[in-house]
């Protein structure tokens, strides 16, 4: 029997064929995975860096202690008139897991019904619950008698 033709699991030819098959297989997988991955990329709009100035209501419509809900870009925003007549605007998206917070005038806070996070209405900071950070603050001012919020 000719020794050179005997199967040799560690022979250079076997190694070469294995490497070629592995490389080819990896190439085949990649040539499918890459287009599929690109195809599945998120196509929805990102949250823009600058949210456009959005009309909330007339300055005279919002009495102290009252609130308005408004969408600024894609973000739900809560606009509050404090008892000292100052205005403040918070993103209503809870910083915990993204539910929408509710203003509670009786306790002067913002409460998330999903997992019980509570935020201070004046400063936006966390009072209690699982939220990791304060609510995002939006810019707000009165232009020609109308309240405008943006970020």
């Amino acid at each position: 029997m000719d020794d050179t033709d005997a199967p040799n699991p560690s022979g250079p030819r076997r190694t070469f064929v294995r490497a070629a098959v592995a490389l080819g297989g990896a190439g085949a997988v990649a040539s499918i995975a890459w287009p599929v991955g690109r195809y599945l990329q998120p196509v929805g709009d990102g949250v823009p860096e600058d949210l456009p100035p959005t009309d909330v209501c007339a300055d005279s419509e919002l009495a102290p202690g009252q609130m308005r809900s408004v969408r600024v870009g894609p973000i739900p925003v809560i606009v509050l008139r404090r008892h000292d007549s100052s205005l403040v605007a918070w993103s209503a998206l809870c910083t915990h897991l993204g539910c929408t917070v509710r203003f509670r005038p009786e306790s002067d806070d913002l409460h998330c019904a999903c997992h019980g996070a509570v935020f201070d209405a004046a400063t936006g900071t966390r009072r209690s619950g699982p939220a990791p950070s304060a609510l995002a603050k939006l810019k707000i001012e009165v232009r020609h008698g109308r309240i405008v919020a943006w970020a």
């Binding site: 929805g44 993204g98 509710r102 019904a113």
Partner: protein, 354 residues
Amino acid sequence: MAESSPGRDDPGWLRERTGIGAWLDRARKLQVPGGIRSWAAHVGGVAILLLVVQTLTGILLLVHYRAGDGAWASVARITSQIPFGWLVRGTHSIASHLLVLLVLAHLLSSFASRAFRRPRELTWMTGVALLACVLGLGLSGTVLVGDQRALFTARVALHMTRALPWVGSFLAGLLGGGPDVGTETGQRMLAVHAGALPLALLCLAAMHLWLVRTHGLCAPARPRANPIPWYPDFLSREATLWVVASILLVAAAALWPPEVGRSADPLEPTPHGIRPAWFFLPLYQLLRMLPPMVAVVRGEQVAWIAVLLVAAGVLTLPLWEDGERRWAKRVADLLAWILLPLLLGLGLWGWTSS
């Protein structure tokens, strides 16, 4: 001449062409271990029936369902206008809860009887993967309804996905289709709920059944009787249960027709008392209780660690509790006795919390 070429009315026609005869003969000779008289042996079979029900009602719902912005309106239309739409949706909804319940019960009874031990390790593992599929279907199905609960379920699920280190943002983008829950999310959830997960479930269920068929049903530790024939004894009991389960299912769907919550409005605050489906209540309560940070790890990530630890422990159970070592059996029992009351307690707490 007629003898050499059998006609289509010949009963052997199909046997000759499909080989179904040998298969039927094998099924007829199949034996089930004696002592399997308890209803627990049929839980898996009823779960299979529910899978069939879910596939059929799911296809029917797909006819009138619209993903994306029209989702809520289409679900409302199915529920209140399409003839028998309430029944199709009600059956699909109740069967989904029942399916999770049965898969959990099946897993628990397999644990209690140590049916996962050699050679049935892979049967157990495919069963655990099936549970994951069923939970994923429950979650994506909730999102498809398009009401307020759907919106906030999707928000929480996507934010939780994003909290995963390294792969979180990528996965959340993949599943949500955008930075926030929107039209893209509904469409992708439909692809997951009606495409990817059912296919995965079908493959896993086929593997599971193949393994059950290969190893047979697990005999009780102390067989009390001689083996009984699968056909007709075992099968007739199973068929009886299928009929009873079908009747109960339709009756339940008729008695408790599904509701349509208020349409999702991103401007409105999350409604008070909102809760996930019962099988996510332990996780929900855990998320409520965890502080923002535990040492250097965020609360949501601690919840992930807990979920992944439990999943890994349950999945790999047959690899370390193989019946060879006494301590392994004790550890498995101890973990079960800690974990079950804990999950039940967290769930009840989550159910009653406001």
